[in-house]
Amino acid sequence: MLTTVEIIILLPLFGAIVSGVFGHWLKKSSGYVATACVGAAWLLGLKTLVDVMGGVGVDENVYTWVSAGSFTASVGFLVDPLSAIMLVTVTTVSFFVHVYSFGYMHHDAGFARFFAYLNLFVFSMLVLILANNYLLMFVGWEGVGVCSYLLIGFWYERKSASDAGKKAFIVNRIGDFGFLIGIFTMFGYLGTVQFSEVVAKAGGGALPASAATGIALLLFLGACGKSAQFPLYVWLPDAMEGPTPVSALIHAATMVTAGVYVVARSNVLYTLSPTAGAVVAWVGVFTALLAASIALVNTDIKRVLAYSTVSQLGYMFIGVGVGAYTAGIFHLFTHAFFKGLMFLAAGSVMHAMSNELDMRKYGGLLSKMKVTGYTFIIGTIAIAGIPPLSGFWSKDLILAGAYHSHVPGHAALWALGVVGAVMTSFYMFRLILMTFFGQPRDAHLYDHAHESPPSMTVPLLVLAVGAIFVGGVTGYPLEHGWINHFLDPVLGSPDHGSGGAGLSPSVLIGISVAAGLGGFVLALVMHRSGRLGADSRQPIHKVLWNKWYVDEAYDVSIVRPIHRLSMALWTIFDTIVVDGIANGLGYTVKGISWVSGRFQTGRTPTYAMWMLFGTIAMIYAVTLP
């Protein structure tokens, strides 16, 4: 008999196969199959959470994948509070995104293909979060990467879309490199990749601190790629070329949080290595501010949300970096609801505005799109960290954790986090004000605007309920809420290095609420004076508008040199040597003279010459020490 967790994992795979293989015949019904599969997985996921709350965990090896000498790897699953939270997050958002996609992708020719990829993604994501060892986790890790690549480039006819897919793919390769080397090194030191054994052995002192730092940083490199942290965040904004449900599901709520999950899952390593933890936290806060600053001036509705995602992921890394793992995962959980909601709402706006993404052409849409508008506002209040909505609880937990931690510069970390919170609130309310309030700036688009069909608005409503309540229900009272009691046993409670010294908790809360409100007021004032979205000649505006020139810097320092190198290789090996000969052959060398033609080109002798050089080098290398 299959266990519940196996059924949960197999359901989306089944859906993917059915809608992928039979999609041609099933047409629109493939969407029903796919959605039903994810829906069933969602219900079972909820049941699993209840089971785990009742103390029933799972750590089972389904079958031994490979066993050779000291090396064993299993296909096995682990359900503990951490993976149960992830499971519920992933399946909930997945299900509603599936429902939403019915309306959104209705007219698309690739309807069945879309659902097949989406199901395949859910399957891979579930493997990632439910695996009980790093190797199987890597299977899911690569799987979500491939699905993300396929879905970003879903509209492959558009060059920008397939370019964005490629960019995501290549940048993620860098992260994967770190992740893989990290696994190899871990296996080299501990002889196992099973979570439970890693915890036992590393916790038991089998891992020298330097090795723990190395492995932790390598895994974090992988996390930076997948979770879009500096310097590897550049792919995520471009990934918005994909269909909006994909942005909501993969590039906001689930896949991009995988890195945070990996760090939390490997918490034993980060506890062993304070250095690695500090690096994670500081990279997190840097990314949070960098991305938020770009979002301040951007006018593309999806890009703003994308930078916001990068920024919020930075907050999660602050949390897991300072040792407040519960806070990081809690923010991941609440963020999935409100960011998923906002992406879907943005999709609804685009749907109404003939796929226009430029907010400068929006305005005054609230009267025409009440559900979309109000749910979007709910998401915004949530992300701004204004109580009692969800974002407040998790963000505050992170900031408090940072403040009390003993990571070097923890007070600065907290202060910068607060600055970021002001920025977050500002750019989000700017988005709302530009989109839903004021006068319509493009009369033609405005006239055609209409509310989206129920298949799209119902998921908005459901996620809005989540965005309002999940934080408070699970996070109240702060630091002692249900979520803390649930997750602390696996993740450990944050280590309050500085004890109760410094500002008192209520002051901290007051400051972060003030930050959220401050951003809102600022946006409102600028809106009143008509300066939101206006062009500015200030140099700082230009720098932000050009996204700190990071893409340009990468282009000059990395992309172009590599391109030149490969072009040079290509020119030497193929154009001159191969194509030149092959083309020349057709025109000039005929009949029996081909043999001499071959020699005249000097190719075979060239090869022999290289062999000779190689031989001399080989003799040198072997005979001389």
Binding site: V21, T64, W65, V66, S67, A68, G69, F71, L135, F138, V139, E142, V146, L150, G153, Y156, E157, S162, F169, I170, R173, I174, D176, F177, L180, I181, F184, T185, F187, G188, S566, M567, L569, W570, F573, D574, V578, L585, W594, V595, R598, R603, T604, T606, Y607, A608, W610, M611, F613, G614, T615, M618, I619, A621, V622, T623, P625
Partner: protein
């Protein structure tokens, strides 16, 4: 006189007998265009596989005047080689028909090459290994140029012959130097001579080792001795390209590993640095070369260079996990690579046309089965989990870490990540590009279908349940260490 243990000879004997039978059939029925010979060859290969399996697990012996080994190591390579040969014959039947090149010496040559390879894997004496290499190589020279009317086929053959002769010279000279300094060409006696310090002049021995490495490096297409590979792979009849990339490469590695680790293992301090460089260069040049290819055969040629690099990493590590990993990897590689070539044959058109990767646009929708199989092979070649290729690489790289070669592992993993790009390029072309022009009918003979199915299932099986084969691979190691 010495007693002959026929078991030692048995696998080779089956194939040798098969060569004679096919030759006779060729004389009796010259008009069969390879049909009957093909079926006979398949049958014989099946028998040889069965014989090899039935000899598995016996305590290692050697015989025939110390010329041949019978150990798990040789038997495992027999399986790789015979699987490669069998699959190639399956693929070839329809291929020869389409290209109208069916002549029975085709199978004769394949079988002769196979015999050579088996001698390379079982050889206990440098002379036997040398004979095996030459038997294999000469058959391959002819097979590469089998389509006599096609200039690229001829070009490849000629080039292979010339450069191969060059490499043979080095190999033979290396053997001579080793003989000169140790007084023997027998692998076990070389080992003893080195261990006991009975070496006439040490520099001469090392010079011999260097030249042996050169000779083997040419056969496994390691950089900078790889340059023949792209031209030869591209020019050879496609079924032969698939054949060459699996069996001959595995056999060359079999001999390479055996000579370096079993006989010259005590000198590893001298040669491992050189092999390290060879591995790093081979992986890097192979993958970078493959990046810009548009012809799929040429791309896979560079890919085969790169894969030789990965296996060389196992030789650098030269520990139990490494050797088992390398051996296992060669098995996995045989299945996935011949599978890929089976797809190329199936999608090709008369005259070995349609080899541009761009020509594969839309294949995934027009021919779902073929598309799916090709995706599997590409993903496996790229080393993504959970396929055969991933496990091979995992074994090899963790062995390298275990042996302390962290930087080589870093280079290897970086390379393997780069390689994903061009392997998935084929998948992208099949699934995410609109087909151009008319759909061409794809006709696969039942035999070709069997080949494709076997290769797919093999690749899947090795990936999903690698345990038993990995354990077999580990049982071969004791022959070397």
């Amino acid at each position: 006189m010495f007693e002959i243990d026929w078991n030692i000879l048995l696998p080779s004997l089956v194939v040798a007998g098969l060569v004679l039978v096919v030759l006779c059939v060729d004389i009796i029925r010259p008009d069969n265009k390879g049909g009957v010979s093909g079926y006979l060859s398949l049958l014989g290969v099946g028998v040889a596989i069965w014989v090899s399996l039935s000899l598995w697990g016996r305590s290692p012996t050697h015989g025939l005047g110390g010329m041949l080994f019978l150990d798990n190591y040789a038997l495992f390579f027999n399986l790789i080689i015979l699987a490669g040969t069998g699959l190639t014959i399956f693929v070839s039947t329809g291929f020869l028909e389409r290209e109208e090149g069916g002549r029975s010496e085709y199978y004769l040559l394949i079988l002769a090459a196979t015999l050579g390879m088996m001698l390379m894997a079982a050889g206990a004496d440098l002379i036997v290994i040398f004979l095996g290499i030459e038997l294999m190589s000469i058959a391959l020279y002819i097979l590469v140029g089998f389509f006599r009317r096609r200039t690229d086929s001829n070009e490849g053959s000629m080039k292979y012959l010339l450069l191969g002769a060059f490499a043979t010279g080095f190999l033979l000279y290396g053997i001579a130097l080793v003989y000169g300094s140790t007084g023997t060409t027998n692998l076990r006696e070389i080992e003893l001579a080195v261990a006991q310090g009975r070496v006439y002049t040490h520099p001469m021995l090392l010079g011999g080792v260097a030249l042996l490495i050169v000779g083997f490096a040419f056969k496994v297409s390691a950089v900078p001795f790889h340059m023949w590979a792209p031209d030869v792979y591209q020019g050879a009849p496609t079924a032969i390209t698939g054949f060459m990339s699996a069996g001959p490469k595995a056999a060359a590695f079999a001999a390479f590993f055996r000579v370096m680790v079993a006989s010259l293992g005590d000198l590893s301090g001298d040669w491992s640095g050189a092999i390290w460089m060879l591995a790093a260069l081979t992986m890097t040049v192979g993958n970078l070369g493959a990046l810009s290819q548009r012809n799929i055969k040429r791309m896979l040629a560079y890919s085969s260079v790169a894969h030789a690099g990965y296996v060389l990493v196992a030789l650098v590590a030269a520990n139990e996990r490494g050797i088992a990993g390398g051996v296992f990897y060669l098995l996995a590689y045989a299945f996935m690579n011949i599978g890929a070539f089976a797809v190329i044959v199936a999608l090709g058109r008369k005259g070995d046309e349609n080899l541009e990767i761009s020509g594969y646009a839309g294949v995934g929708f027009r021919h779902p089965g073929i598309g799916l199989a090709m995706t599997l092979f590409m993903v496996s070649l790229a080393g993504l989990p959970p396929t055969a290729g991933f496990f091979g690489k995992f074994q090899i790289f963790s062995a390298a870490v275990e042996a302390g070669y962290i930087w080589l592992t870093v280079i290897g993993v970086l390379n393997s990540l780069v390689s994903v790009y061009f392997y998935l390029g084929v998948v992208v072309s099949m699934y995410m590009r609109q087909p151009v022009g008319q759909a061409h009918a794809v006709s696969m003979t039942p035999f070709a279908r069997v080949a494709l199915l076997t290769a797919s299932l093999g690749t899947l099986y090795i990936g999903l349940a690698p345990t038993s084969l990995l354990q077999m691979a580990r049982q071969t190691v004791s022959a070397l260490l």
